[in-house]
């Protein structure tokens, strides 16, 4: 067989120079609601996100914010739950509400031509939801079943415990939903929270795709009403972090074949100057398939199906967390193998070859993240929460291209000290 190509060496390649971010246009509705528009894409589809300050922080307790977010879709003073579902499905759209710590996001994805039929429904949901008693009862019972199911998974048990340990059981970032809270939540609370949180106060709209030239008129008609009064919610405050004094926590689960582990530490968010360079440190350690953790714990030792590390930003804090599910009987060996890799980040400089690979991989990954208007708008939306814009990622591109191994080692020495780490295990 004759092969004319050089199979040992492989083809030449180019390194990504920069990322072309989509332009954003902004306008304000008559009542002050801020709209951002990312117009791009080859299909006539539109995604609209409505952000309201209606997250778990404003709710002040678990379950309330997400219950309000989901129950809004279950009936208004002029449409039943079944009618709302029917309209959304008939026009082939997707409508859902997600709640986070500091806000809730209503997302509509649809064919652009259906916007005039669908926006009145979203308006109705946001302004006239009734929280019908029967719907309230059905939703909470269903949600309780989901909660019980999730509570059986070692991964979930470990993640919940880790939040409590790192931020404190009473802190909004750490407190966890408990079964008893299904019995104490009241329908009156949901109505009160809805009325205060779903108003023009701090509401923002992000539109992406090809929404057509009359999008401004449509949004003004349905969400620009000047008589729509502002509500009252806590927009800023979260209490001080209260991390656990103990560094090791084991939640035993009978009969578990695998143990879920979470190792990590509290950290700052993406406004901190070290945040961007730490993304490179994190990627080397556990942020991609070829990472050191994946190589050591999966590919060399075969102790797990997967392991990864990530840095999570919250508006007032953050965390660095390594997560995996490992062979039950080898849990201690896995934890030690992880710490060995953590330590190696500090002990040895990253060699040139590995650093070059990580640089190029990260640049490619950024290009993938910014592909298309929908994913760009998701990134834009989360940056906004921190007062940032796409310039944050332009800076990240520069840091990825220029960071040296000395800086990586220094940052590792500063932030990857074993004594700063919490270890949570669910299983055995």
């Amino acid at each position: 067989m004759i092969i004319e190509v050089d199979r040992k060496k492989g083809p030449e390649f180019q390194i990504l120079d920069k990322i072309d971010f989509l332009p954003i246009s902004r306008f304000v509705l008559p009542n002050g609601v801020d709209v951002s528009l990312l117009e791009a894409g080859s299909q006539d589809v539109t995604k609209i996100d409505w952000l309201f300050p209606a997250g778990a922080v404003q709710a002040g307790k678990p379950l309330l914010a997400s219950t309000v977010g989901n129950l809004m879709l279950e009936g208004t003073d002029s449409r039943t739950s079944a009618e709302i579902s029917d309209i959304i499905d008939f026009y082939g759209a997707h409508l859902n509400v997600q709640t986070y710590h500091h806000n809730s996001v209503i997302t509509l994805i649809c064919l652009t031509k259906e916007l005039p039929q669908l926006l009145p429904v979203v308006e109705d949901i946001v302004r006239n939801a009734v929280f019908d008693a029967k719907e309230y009862y059905i939703y909470l019972n269903k949600r309780r079943q989901e909660y019980l199911l999730e509570s059986e998974k070692v991964r979930t048990i470990a993640a919940r415990k880790f939040g409590q340990v790192v931020f404190g059981e009473a802190h909004p970032y750490g407190r966890q939903l408990e079964l008893s809270q299904f019995d104490t939540l009241t329908r009156e609370e949901t109505i009160a929270f809805y009325k205060n949180a779903y108003t023009p106060l701090a509401c923002r709209i992000v539109v992406a795709g090809q929404p057509g030239s009359d999008i401004k008129d449509l949004l003004t008609r349905h969400f620009g009403d000047v008589s729509w009064r502002e509500g009252m919610v806590n927009l800023n405050g979260v209490s001080e972090l209260m991390p656990s004094p103990d560094k090791f926590h084991l939640v035993e689960k009978d009969g578990a074949l695998q143990s879920a582990i979470r190792l990590g530490r509290p950290l700052f968010n993406n406004n901190h100057p070290d945040f961007i360079p730490l993304q490179v440190v994190n990627t080397i350690l556990g942020g991609y398939f070829g990472s050191r953790l994946m190589t050591a714990v999966r590919e060399e030792k075969g102790l797990t199906y997967g392991i990864g590390s990530s840095i999570v930003s919250y508006q007032k804090s953050g965390m660095w967390v390594i997560a995996s599910e490992v062979m039950g009987e080898m849990r201690e060996a896995a934890v030690e193998a992880i710490f060995e890799e953590v330590k190696r980040m500090t002990d040895e400089p990253v060699d040139k070859d590995e650093l070059e690979l990580v640089r190029n991989y990260m640049l490619g990954e950024l290009l993938r993240h910014f592909d298309g208007p929908f994913s760009s708008s998701d990134i834009y939306r989360s940056l906004w929460e921190f007062g940032l814009d796409f310039g944050f990622y332009a800076k990240m591109v520069e840091v990825i291209k220029t960071i040296g191994s000395e800086e990586i080692q220094l940052l590792s020495a500063k932030y990857l000290k074993r004594e700063d780490f919490y270890v949570v295990v669910a299983g055995r």
Partner: protein, 417 residues
């Protein structure tokens, strides 16, 4: 509408290309016509284990992932009962690296005992993580052998048993490779910021020298028609009872696939669907319910599954499901209801065409099944379906003697009593 260009190499490799200049990226998707159905009954889970081994380096390249990451690429793979599929996304100007890596592992794998040993362990952990250490994780291990008696769909892709994975030998690995991994047993699909002619030239350069291989003709046992209802009841430590009913249906390429697909949408796609409205919302018998078709190449399954609300007996829940299935089998469907699920198919098709990777994956699969251009005719197949065809299809599928019912009961469950 997806614009598709095709080319076939002398060694039998089929290439399909879709240019999409709205992205700076490209996807390279290589699908092999081998899946869990091609395994021996005492060597199950092998196609999937093999997928893992494909990342352990090839004849001339010691690592698959490393050079790909070095050019900004990312990759993954999946195995089904019918296919094994490998895909890469990367900046379009570095696309040749994907051709180098994919062609080298089609040429010859680097068969090392170490790779086999470690990947067997990794797959065993995957088996535990997905099937044994999750509530309801073992459901596929129970329902498949109930529905199938002789056809290899009777085991899931992970395999029947961890022991089969532990017993895999290097000889098994080598023979599997040369039997199934061949240019004449694969389709290469590329979508993204590329020119079809350039892709065809790259394919010739990198794949052209790989010899055609002797791929054994597939001759699988045919599942005999089921003649009586099958049932299985198990008890597990889970939070709620679970019901899973399977019905035999036709093949993916049968014309009634599209009718069955709409039938499953009418029953459970979206919050306005029949099963959700009736069984979750109105009667509150289930906390969650689904109806879906497997879409397998050989005759597949129509499944109805649901988790029960506490205090509801499995008998009552089952009777309520059957009542809905009987209603859709005997009553006329309103035009608007059928239009609703057709609209949903249309809009989902448009949404799916946003992603160049989706397009590459779909083209590869359709070309392997017959013709990539069929993607563009699908919508017509759905539009042509009439309201009369739905009850006809439902009546032929939802028969007791065509059903296999798993009752998965919660005992000593943690949580509430």
């Amino acid at each position: 509408m997806i614009e598709i260009y095709k080319h076939v190499l002398p060694n039998g490799l089929r290439i399909v290309v879709h240019p999409d200049i709205t992205t700076p990226l490209a996807a390279v998707n290589l699908i092999y016509d081998v899946g869990a159905r091609d395994e021996e009954p005492d060597r199950t889970g092998f196609a999937h284990l093999f997928e893992h081994l494909m990342f352990g380096g090839s004849k001339n390249v010691p690592s698959y992932d490393e050079p790909l990451q070095r050019v900004g690429g990312e990759n993954n793979a999946w195995t089904s009962n019918d296919f094994t599929n490998y895909y890469v996304t990367l900046p379009a100007n570095n696309i040749e690296t994907a051709f180098w890596l994919e062609s080298d592992r089609m040429l010859e794998l680097n068969f090392t005992p170490k790779n086999l040993e470690v990947q067997s362990k990794v797959v065993i952990e995957e088996f535990k993580q997905r099937y044994l250490n999750q509530p309801y994780g073992d459901v596929p291990l129970l329902t498949r052998p109930l529905a199938y008696k002789v056809h290899p769909y009777l085991w899931p892709t992970i395999g029947k048993d961890i022991a089969h994975i532990e017993q895999a030998t290097m000889d098994d690995v080598k023979s599997f490779f040369y039997k199934h991994y061949a240019p004449n047993n694969a389709v290469l699909a590329v979508a993204g910021n590329v020119k079809p002619e350039a892709i065809f030239r790259l394919a010739e350069r990198w794949f052209g020298g790989i010899p055609r291989r002797e791929v054994p003709l597939r001759s699988l046992p045919v599942e005999p028609a089921q003649t009586e209802a099958r049932e299985l009841t198990v008890e597990r430590r889970v939070p709620a009872d679970f019901l899973h009913i399977n019905f035999h249906t036709g093949k993916r390429c049968d014309p009634d696939f599209y009718i069955n697909d709409l039938l499953s949408d009418l029953l459970s796609n979206g919050p306005s669907s029949r099963l959700f409205q009736s069984l979750v919302k109105e009667n509150q018998l289930f906390s969650d319910i689904n109806a879906f078709i497997s879409g397998d190449i050989d005759p597949g399954l129509f499944s109805v599954t649901g988790r029960l609300m506490p205090g509801v007996s499995i008998g009552r829940a089952e009777a309520a499901v059957w009542k809905e299935l009987e209603a859709i089998s005997t009553e006329k469907i309103a035009d608007r209801e059928l239009q609703k699920v057709k609209n949903k198919v249309e809009s989902n098709l448009v949404f799916s065409e946003i992603s160049f990777l989706n397009k590459a994956m779909n083209m590869a699969q359709y070309e392997l099944m017959g013709d990539a251009n069929d993607i563009n005719n699908e919508i017509e197949q759905y539009r042509a379906i009439s309201t009369q065809q739905i009850p006809e299809a439902a009546a032929s599928i939802f028969r007791k003697e065509n059903s296999s019912t798993l009752r998965y009961l919660a005992v000593n469950g943690p949580g509430e009593k």
